[in-house]
């Protein structure tokens, strides 16, 4: 890892914050997609029955 100088803590926290934010956004998008697809599949199965 390169030496980030005297302000390394600000650089590292900026990247950690962005990583958490982006990971959260991806996770939430996938979770929402999965739960909605699950609800739709259940409703369509109920309708077909």
């Amino acid at each position: 890892m390169i030496d980030l100088g005297p302000h390394a803590v600000f650089i590292v926290w900026a990247y950690i914050g962005v990583a958490i934010g982006v990971a959260g956004l991806i996770g939430w998008t996938l979770y929402d997609a999965r739960t909605t697809a699950g609800k739709l599949a259940a409703l369509e199965a109920r309708r077909a029955a």
Binding site: G21, I26, A33
Partner: protein, 253 residues
């Protein structure tokens, strides 16, 4: 009318059908994921291992590689929502309000990240995490606009009625975008004026521009990928609501 004489639908009409939109755009998702991942790997390599210190900022210039793309997306996503709002009000395009709704949480997060990374850059550079200057204050206002629009979407049961009301509010909120863009020119702000997108070209060397542009495209592709996925989910959610209503009416009958 036979199949031979039926008028051919153009792509605009075809994607007006939510089901067709999902069928047409679903194959794009995995290629977009791969392009986004490759861009992030290359961008992060350049950001940490193949770019120099800035002669004034030193290593804190590396924060710019995540700050600038998020700041760009905070405004670009609102631009997408504004075009979608026009699509909702003028053309009543069924996918326009789906796009408008899907983009709002993404825009809110990119705006929050722009403010967060900006404050972490500001502390070592300006000596403060926050200053009520034109650029920062107008970006904070943008975050509140995003949050307000998300709250409005959740306040309505009828999503089609909500779309028309929210489209009007989105267009009113769009006035903030030129204010953010030109705030550094109109007022004497702590935030520096534009240094990348300028009429006379960028004011930084190629060694810093390269990671900046790669990260810029990485975040933009991330937005496109998540926006498509969120739009597919929204189409399914509306189908769920439609089925639930029909079933409830069936139960009552």
């Amino acid at each position: 009318m036979s199949i031979e004489t039926a008028p051919k639908l153009n792509w605009w009409n075809r994607i007006a059908n939510p089901g067709q939109f999902v069928i047409w755009t679903k194959p794009l998702l995995w290629p977009l994921v791969i392009v986004t991942a490759v861009l992030f790997v290359v961008g992060l390599y350049f950001a940490f291992f193949n770019s120099p210190q800035d002669y004034q900022m030193g290593d804190t210039v590396r924060i710019m590689y995540v700050h600038v793309p998020n700041a760009w997306l905070s405004q670009f996503v609102y631009g997408v929502m504004t075009v979608s709002a026009v699509g909702t009000l003028v053309w009543r395009h069924p996918m326009a309000d789906v796009s408008m709704k899907a983009a709002a949480p993404l825009g809110a997060l990119f705006t929050a990240l722009a403010l967060f990374t900006g404050s972490l850059w500001g502390r070592p550079t300006w000596g403060t995490f926050w200053e009520w200057d034109g650029r920062m204050t107008s970006t904070l206002v943008l975050l509140f606009i995003y949050l307000g629009l998300i709250a409005l979407w959740r306040a309505f049961d009828d999503q089609l009625r909500a779309a028309r009301v929210i489209a009007v509010f989105t267009l009113v909120g769009a006035i903030n975008i030129p204010i953010i863009k030109f705030s550094v020119d109109w007022w004497s702000t702590l935030h520096q004026p534009a240094s990348v997108f300028r009429a006379d070209g960028p004011r930084m060397p190629g060694s810093i521009l390269t990671p900046l542009f790669v990260m810029f495209f990485a975040f933009t592709f991330l937005f496109i990928t998540l926006q498509l996925k969120a739009m597919h989910t929204e189409v399914k959610r509306r189908r769920v609501i439609g089925l639930q209503r029909r079933m409830a009416q069936g139960d009552r009958a």
